[in-house]
């Protein structure tokens, strides 16, 4: 077996560009997913029957189908079905938004329901509004319980972006394949790609540890 590590420095600019795009899709997708997750999770925890049913249908639909199918649907089926045409990058971001949103919704719901009734009653007894109760008491307490599972979802979503190779988004895995096609150095290139993913996920893990440490309570 012979290795040619000299291909790595040559490939790095392309791989870095891919990693940047991977990060972009992940971060923008997770921000959107968090927004949707908070709304859907709150609907599940506190919503009336109708709102609850809508949120549940969304969550089950997304959790019950593979993300590859979801992104293919957005990219290839939506133009036919709804005459909505999204470019590959927007489709990729949208797929993370709706996919992570469903999982985060369940995380949010669990965190909200874990808040002890005593704190809620103490807030109510003071005479604050429901919005104040949510913003000042339930929200901050739930957020502390949210962080560990949310970190898990961040890592999953980051790795999920590699599946967007199927719609040709120039993310890290796709870039790895491109370089492979011209160099045929599988061991060197895929090892480098793996290390780049690992660097991103470990950085995320580290950042989350720091956040957890700063929120010492509960």
């Amino acid at each position: 077996m012979q290795f040619d590590f000299s291909v790595i420095p040559q490939a790095l600019p392309e791989l870095f560009a891919g990693a940047r795009l991977t990060l972009y899709i992940t971060v923008v997708g997770l921000l959107g997913g968090f927004a949707i997750g908070v709304v859907a999770g709150t609907a599940r925890a506190y919503g009336n029957r109708a709102v609850n049913a809508i949120a549940m249908a969304y969550i089950e639909l997304i959790r019950g189908t593979p993300i590859v199918v979801q992104v293919m649907f957005i990219y290839f089926a939506m133009p036919i079905l709804l005459d909505v045409r999204l470019d590959a990058l927007t489709s990729a971001v949208s797929a993370i938004v709706i996919n992570a949103g469903a999982y985060i919704a369940e995380i949010v719901r669990g965190a909200l329901l874990s808040i002890s009734r005593g704190y809620i009653e103490a807030g109510k007894a003071l005479g604050i509004t429901r919005w104040q109760l949510f913003r000042d008491i339930i929200g901050p307490l739930a957020f502390r319980r949210l962080v560990p599972p949310l970190g898990n979802q961040c890592i999953i979503s980051l790795k999920d972006t590699s599946l967007f190779i199927v719609i040709g988004v120039a993310e890290l895995t796709r870039q790895g394949q491109e370089v492979m096609a011209s160099t045929f150095r599988a061991v060197e290139i895929w090892s480098t790609v793996a290390v780049l993913y690992l660097a991103m996920t470990l950085t995320m893990t580290l950042a989350l540890r720091l956040i957890e440490k700063r929120m010492k309570i509960l």
Binding site: S116, G118, Y119, E121, A122, G123, K124, A125, L126, G127, I128, T129, Q132, D136, I137, P140, L141, R144, I217, L218
Partner: protein, 242 residues
Amino acid sequence: MSMVEFDNVTKAFGDLVVLHELDFAVERGEVVFVVGPSGSGKSTLLRCINALEPITDGALFVEGRNVADPRTNIREIRREAGMVFQQFNLFPHMSALGNVAYGVRRVRGKSRREAEAIAMPLLEKVGMADRADHYPDELSGGQAQRVAIARALAVNPDLMLFDEPTSALDPELRYEVLRVMRDVVEAGMTMIVVTHEMSFAREVGTRLLFMDEGRIALDGDPRELMAAPPNQRFADFLVHIQ
């Protein structure tokens, strides 16, 4: 106008009736102790007053406002009825000072600085000024409950509701909470206290309600009732509680 008026109040959880057509009033300045065996409806009675539990039937007026009337703004009632819980329920993400100042900021619309200027003397009054920056998990049960009393007092209520304030405390910590409650009595506050602290009831109470199976079985002066129990149930209760 009575401070609190129960007008044929019934409360049921499903088929289980826990309060049977209660009819009584509490006047301004009264210090009412509500005692009775567990499951007799004491806590539920208290929690109906500030609408933590909705009543099933009848009318319940707090300073003339009916909690059962959908047009009543429940928050206005809650602002006038401070509550202290058995489990303290201090907000765990706020310091002692933050807990006491919180209600003042939100309910009385003060700035943080103004609210803390109101909160600090209250912490001093309950002997917790030196722990102002401590978080609830750094406080003993007795300390936490004293902060919780300050938190309820801070919004300047007309009435204080105590739901077994010393039941979760070790015997040696109960005293410090009772001392603070005695100060609240001496300040002239109208109080309704659910408790098992019979000697405290005798000492500072102006009125004693003995509850039995969702009804007020006895209503009178604590000293007289305890000196000569008018019925066997109350006599048995007094024996069991000691």
